[in-house]
Structures are given as C-alpha cells and as structure tokens.
C-alpha cells in the first residue's frame, strides 16, 4: 500500500526556450509580477487568489499577464535578478509584454498544451518544462 505516482507527458508550444522544473503553482487569475515582493517572490496583491504564496522557483501556470508593459517587465526582471523568479511558465493567452518579460528574465515560457493546463495541472504537482523539445511532464504522487 505505498504511494503511487502518476506521470503525464504533454506537447506544448515553445515561446521562450530553455528547461525548468519545480512544484506547480496554478493561478486562475492574470498575474502582474510588479505586485510581488522582488526579494522573495511572494505575491503581495491583496485581492489576488495567490496572495501570500511564493512564485520563487515554481512552475507557474496562469491564464495571462496584466498591467502596463513597464511594470510587468521590470517586475519579472527584478525577481530574476534576485533568483526568485519562476523556473518556467505555462500560459494560456500570451501577449507581447509577457514574451518580452520572459525573454529578459530568461524564464522558459510555453503555451498551447495539448490539454487544458487548468484541468491537468494542480498546485503541488511536480512539473518539468522542456521548452526546447516542446514537452511538459507532470508527476503527481497519489496516496
């Protein structure tokens, strides 16, 4: 009677290359990186579902970015400078500003998973994003 692990592999579409892995953190709301603590990666936006949660070294799953280009880009860049940016990002609706943010922060960014990421990935799953190969691997320990 041990724990069993479930492993799922999905194809995705590379936007910013590289590989990253870590615990999944799922947000159903758009994210503004400027509204996180640049030193720790903790979400400070009081009305956000992730308030108090930490983005540092997670694989972040979220619908889209938000807010003006300057603050969004500077926000993710500061997290990366302090080594508390996400390890990789899986997004649903991408736009120019998010691409630029991930590019200058050097965070792998993918979209178009072959299945809805919000159905498949749960906070706490272990997720590997290989943007170069276009593959996302999800491992979940089920008791």
């Amino acid at each position: 009677m041990g724990s069993e692990s479930l492993k799922i592999m999905l194809r995705c579409h590379k936007i910013i290359g590289g590989c990253g892995e870590g615990e999944a953190l799922v947000s159903h709301e758009p994210i503004c990186f400027y509204l996180t603590d640049p030193k720790t990666g903790i979400v400070r936006e009081t009305t956000h579902e992730l308030v108090g949660k930490n983005l540092a070294n997670k694989v972040l799953v979220f619908p889209s970015g938000k807010a003006s280009s300057v603050v969004q880009i500077d926000g993710l860049f500061k997290l990366a400078s302090n080594n508390v940016a996400p390890q990789a990002m899986i997004v649903k609706d991408v736009e120019t500003v998010l691409v630029v943010s991930a590019f200058i922060a050097k965070v792998p960014l993918v979209d178009k998973l072959e299945k809805d990421p919000f159905q498949i990935i749960h906070t706490g799953d272990f997720v590997k994003v290989n943007a170069e190969k276009g593959i996302v691997t999800i491992t979940r320990h089920e008791v």
Binding site: S69, V70, I73, D74, T96, V97, A102, F103
Partner: protein, 404 residues
Amino acid sequence: MYLTREEERILDGELGEGTQKAIELLVAIGDAYDAEKMIPISRAHAASSGQEGDLYFVELLANGGARCKVPTSTNPVYDIEYFDRLFEVPKDEGEVARRVMEAYKRVGAILSWSCVPYMAENIPLYGETVAFSESSATPYVNSVIGARTNREAAQSALAAGVIGKTPNYGLHITANRKGTVLVKAEATLKDEFDYTLLGYYVGKQIRYGIPVLTGMSRRPSTEEFINFCAMSNTSGAVSMFYMPGFTVEASTVEEAFQGDTPGDKITVTDHELEQAYEELQTTSGKIDFVMLGCPHYTLKQIEDVARLLRGRKIHDDVAFWVCTSATAKILAERIGYVDIIEKAGGHVVVDTCIDEPCWIVYKDKVGMTDSPKCAYYRRFKEAIVARLKDCVDAAVKGEWEVKV
C-alpha cells in the same frame, strides 16, 4: 516563422551580439503569435523608462554593437543633474537613469525623451508600418494617423528599430483591425478633460478591444485625441479605436466593423462621465503640488497654462510642474509662455514623466493633476484629478474643494 537568409545570419550572431539579441526577441514574439514572417518597419518608438529591466535590454544591445536601422525615438527618463539641484534623488536610481540615457545614445536613437513623439520628433504617415510603444502613442498612431503598430513594449519596439523589422501579426493584419465594440457617446464632450474622462471610462468598461465611437458632434482636437488615447490605453488595453468621420481608416461604422454587426454595445452619457469624475475625487483640502503634462503637454496646452496663470502667484506651499518635450519647450520659451509660468512660480520641465523616481520627494504628498494616468501610477500619497482650470486655481489658493 520563416526567416530570410539575412535574418538567419543575424540570428546566428554573424552581425554581432546586439542585433542577435534583438532578433531573438522578435523571433520569440513571432513564435508566440504564429507569425509567418517578418515585415519591414519605417520607424519605431521605444518607451524607455529609466528602470532596471529597461536598462538591462538597452545595454545588452548597445554593448553588443547594435545601432538603430530606422528612426527610433525615446520616451521620458530624467535629467539627473537638473533634479539633483532641486531635491535629493537616490543615487542608485539616478545612476540607472544616466546609464539608460547613455545607452540609447549609443544605439543611435532619436533622443526625444518624449511620450508624444508623433507630435514632432518621429511622425508616421498614413499606412506606414511601425513599432510604437507607449500608451498614447500606440492608439494615436493606429487610429488618428492610420499607420500600423502593435501594442509594443519598450524592448520589442527597440528590437524592431534595430532590425528594421517586426513579426507580421496582430494589428499589422487588416482582419485584426476590426472594431469589437460600439460605443455610443451621448455625453456632452466640450473640452479636453471630457475626452480624458471618456477615455478613462471606455478603457475601464471594455478592458481590451477596438472601440468604435459614434456621437461626436464635432472633430476632436489633437489634444482631445491624445487624452482619449492615453487614458483608454491605461485604464484598459485599447491599441486602436475608430471615430468614423474623424479618424482616418473607416469612414462609416459598417466599415469599422468590416461588415459585421457589432456584438457588444455601450452607451456613455453625462451621468457615466460624472461618475468617473467623482471616482477620481479621492480627497480635498490643502495640496502640496500640481503635476501637469501626462502625457507631455503640447505647445497649445502650455499656452493654456500661461493664460490661466498670467499675473497670478502660485501659493508658497504648492510646487507647480508642467512636463513637456524639449521641442515644445523651445517654442514656449520663444513665445514667452515659459516666462509667464515661471514668474507665477511654476516650472516647465523637459525629458521626464511623472512616473519616474525623480519625484520621490512627493511620495507622501497630496497633489492634483488633470490626468487619471498620472494618478494611476501611485507615486504620490494622493493625486486628485480635475480640470486644468481647477488645478491652476487650487495651486494659487493652496487647497482644493471638490466641485460636484
């Protein structure tokens, strides 16, 4: 995305590391949007900002030997020497600003330091393909001028300026320039501030899309268009809009919707604009500053300030600032407007914007502005938004009483 032989060579770094980084970013954006290829642009505007993310990218390009291939203008930063004489700007922040300005010079940009470059320093023509970042610039260029740009970030616009190309996606494609929501303006739109409120309200309501506005009883002025653009693209993401008859690309509502029936409709009456105004009256009483010129004031708006201030004296406890471009200030000096404003105790400052760290001295202060965009940045304790005339009167009196 298909790349030409020359683009491949740039991507392989054969033309230097600076252009390589620039094209890498453009390719990533092209991949994100499944663009088929790159298309040439004739000019760009980089919304430089004097912040760390901005510094990183422009230095990456400058240090890698990149130079702008097409005219590329720059947004406000700030002149650290000017502000150091007036008040203390944190040394590290000032150093970022100095390095950003120096790096844009090295990449061969037009050092306009203006957020309304389409007024003087870098003016697209109808039908031009360009890459213009900055909230008022993107919709103004798309709608009032009828050139084509996406909602760029500073870095994507700079990369496009360096390569002279942009991926073909979004608003470069005619089918994507279709109106998405009909806005019936039944409100009385009598002055620039009414267009500010209209933009603020429309952006907030639709959040994202291409509004088609009807009901304007006359042609909006340049400044009214600028205000509508800046506010709707700050409270929402409005990269383009139509006012058939007054904007260039569609002469009728049907044309703006490319033959389709508008799905969503909203109506804006005086009531909605009054509500928007009331929402912006966050406090009243004594004020510490008045901040005008977000976006940068045009020559006409500086004239308005001079007319309102002529022969008056700004209250000793109130700092009075007008932000504008270097080109507008030269004319305002020559004509005599700057002299009138300075005699009244105000300042006309160039090359900067209210969203820069040079204003840290007002962090805990209460002030007034005629721009909700200025208030939105939250660089001050409170920034009450009101008409220019009310801002000037309050500056003279030293306090503001809400007028409802």
